[in-house]
Symmetry: C2
Subunit: 470 residues, 2 copies
């Protein structure tokens, strides 16, 4: 279906939302999920008992969508599939901007009844040019206006990520995990079977939305490949797009067919097409979050040469292996840098070739070491293994200020690794992450995750800067 | 040097320990680190001010090692390198069983002075057949007798892992991180430059020690490859050995030379020799811990076919991809299993081919689903995506009992994945991990880590069962 931007703009920034068919059985998850919505919220339900409960929540109920006394921007359908066609017809008659069908039991069941029902709603929606989101999905999350996929989602207006997900679980987990990592959503949609509106529609919309600075996607398949890749190419010319494709393996492919009914795509063909469009490809939720974070925070990276400090000897060996195995390089520094280091660096208990170990008395000279690495002509990016908040918050803030300054002065990418193994450390690491990122330095919880995010970011910039023409 | 088992037995299970040269500057880390030692602890120090501080700690000080009024099993040397030779001579004269030299500044500095000093202590020790641990290392951790590498290490007598590490940081981090994961040490040694006693000596000793059920190693190089591989072959015939080699890459290789002065070994030659000896190879601290855990907990695994349940549709796609990409398989179940599942499984909102989704009403039938997967002839191992403690502890314990029972009844490997993204979740996940592991089910914090541990364990059993003759 051709994207009607004005309809999606109304649906993603609604002034009036109606939930159809919410019930006590699921604890009114959809009505309660819109508890922080700043516009008008109505319910449609016919069961008298259920209506009482809904009214007790302070929500006005109507027995038909057609009776709502104002224009409706978004309908959330949570009724059983047997009511799906009737509700769709009501939505069309009411001229609703779009409806999100949480309702499942369609083609993904691989049953005659489910497949037939999905065909019918598709035909009816397309005939009316009706913008149907789903079915079998968790719909829209917009923290600025307060509509969401569950009651625990956050509320703010600072997010810059547009997230498009074929999976409801991944949509919700992404919102949560990325938020923990300091990466917030502007608008997100879980679109399930993608029967009427497919990922391409949302990609077009987020691509033209100035509130989405960057786009992340979890996809299991696309219905119209030619159209998808054409839009993807257009959008990547304006903002970075990072795609996690589920069903990369044969076993994963079988799993997607019973999840959203998507057909498996040969992975090599998919990868090469996505690469040609200039999008970044990832294989995990964590890699998706980390790569979006790195792209949001880091400047254009010139090359793969990384300067590393902050660890002991053993950690320096480990991180050199990890970065080299990720396709980056941990090269020798310039002779000038070595001459400067030798003025104060203690060789007893420390290696300084790169990584520059500081798991000893040399840690007192961290400032000078960072300055030297920042200026070094052999180094494109700087990685700090940080003790996070465990070394005291004053010391941490000094380190952060210094690092932010060095990054800016030398226009190099600067990242920090803040690890944790226990809950208390995790709390300290999260606080440290906030402090680092407030100063523009992205942090990652492991060296592996930092290496992968940096490599993906480098490849992105090589591609858009024309250094890589694969 | 030929291993003298009686000397190492005394050093690793000492009755009398002496710390030489501890100082206020490092906050008496070595004297305080032995605070829970159950035997006799003495200090040797000549500085009158420092002696006062040591006596204030309640520790008897002598001005010479030779004056200690009883046989000494272990000396910990923390004096500057300038005193190293004198202390070594005292150790030899006193007939100490072994000395751990924390002292650094030897060959790893790549300076004439350091290299010369290391050559001298090597010659002197070898001439006297003296068992010198290090230098440039963190020495011994034995939680049963209460000697350790820092004051925060745990104290217990249940550990079964022998850990041998060329890095002091990795030795301490392993002890801590593995403990958090429920994998405890019997004896551990950080041996640094390995000048006199090399990793092979400790491997021989732990290999013959019935308290070490399994051995983990972090190595940067070995001095005598022929001897190492001969001992490795002998030990792997008795117990599993898991090796993390640092310096796998050129950049990592440069880092090891300034860390412990080890020479880089061509990685392909190393890998093939280790594989031929029947040891398991890993590339990360996390993979080392996870693989040791899986080998400690799991029975012999027959094949690579994994049955998975516990997740939603999106998670099922993700875990199928992850396990397939790790070299395992997530196959179709038998028709018999599908027939049994169809008796109760709701297709609306759930896929049951494998993974069997339960992110919906089907979760109420988890018991029956696990029984069916446990019996299925197409499945060698069972993986549960668990909500951990977040779903209530009664429900969790039911799940655990059921799972443990199914594993035993069908002699299949059973593992659980318990994820977390926030500190509170991490706490709940740790508690859940303890409960699972008390019932013999190893848990892993991510699906990726579970897949890698399971694959490494499968390869180990294939090798010792002769299915894999590479």
């Amino acid at each position: 279906m051709k994207t009607d931007f004005s309809k999606l703009e109304r649906a993603f920034n609604p002034q009036c939302v109606v939930v159809v068919g919410d019930s006590k059985r699921n604890n009114f998850q959809w009505l309660r999920g819109q508890g922080r919505f700043k516009g008008k919220l109505y319910s449609v339900q016919v069961n008298p008992e259920t209506i009482k409960d809904i009214e007790a929540l302070g929500i006005t109920n109507y027995t038909s969508l057609r009776d709502i006394p104002e224009p409706v921007d978004l309908v959330i359908v949570t009724a059983p599939r047997s009511a799906a066609i009737q509700i769709l017809e009501d939505c069309i008659a009411k001229e609703v901007a779009a409806a999100h069908f949480f309702t499942s039991g369609f083609a993904e069941t691989d049953t005659e009844e489910g497949v037939g029902l999905e065909r019918t709603i598709k035909e009816k929606a397309e005939q009316a040019n009706f913008h149907l989101i789903g079915p079998n999905c968790m719909g829209i999350f917009n923290p600025r206006v307060g509509i969401g996929q569950n009651i625990n989602q956050y509320n703010n207006d600072t997010g810059t990520v547009g997230f498009i997900s074929q999976s409801g679980t991944h949509a919700q987990n992404f919102a949560y995990e990325a938020h923990v990592q300091g990466v917030d959503i502007s608008k997100s949609v879980s679109f399930g079977n993608g029967t009427v509106l497919d990922s391409t529609n949302y990609l077009e919309y987020f691509g033209s939305d100035p509130e989405c600075k960057i786009i992340g996607m979890y996809l299991e398949g696309v219905k119209d490949g030619r159209w998808f890749f054409q839009v993807l190419r257009e959008v990547t010319a304006r903002k970075p797009v990072v795609i996690w494709k589920g069903g990369r393996t044969e076993d994963g492919g079988r799993a997607i067919s019973s999840h959203t009914g998507s057909l498996a795509v040969p992975q090599t063909i998919w990868e090469s097409a996505v690469r040609q469009c200039g999008a970044v490809q990832v294989a995990r939720m964590e890699e998706l979050i980390d790569t979006l974070k790195a792209l949001l925070f880091l400047p254009s990276i010139r090359g793969n040469r990384v300067g590393i400090t902050g660890g002991s000897g053993g950690q320096s060996v480990a991180i050199a292996d990890v970065f080299a195995e990720a396709g980056l390089s941990v090269p020798n520094l310039t002779q000038e840098s070595y001459d400067q280091l030798m003025e104060f660096y203690s060789l007893i208990g420390g290696g300084y070739r790169n990584p520059v170990d500081t798991g000893n008395q040399n840690s007192r000279e961290m400032g000078r070491i960072l300055e030297i690495l920042g200026r070094d002509a052999n180094i494109d990016s700087l990685v700090l293994l940080s003790a996070g908040g465990m070394g005291g918050s004053d010391r941490l803030q000094n380190q952060i200020d210094l690092l932010a300054d060095i990054g800016k002065k030398n226009s190099k990418a600067v990242v920090a690794v803040v690890s944790y193994y226990a809950p208390d450390q995790m709390r300290a690491a999260r606080d440290a992450t906030k402090s680092f990122q407030k100063s523009g330095i992205p942090t990652f919880p492991t060296m592996e995750r930092a290496a992968l995010a940096l490599k993906n970011t480098l490849e992105y910039y090589q591609r858009i800067n024309g250094a890589d023409t694969r």
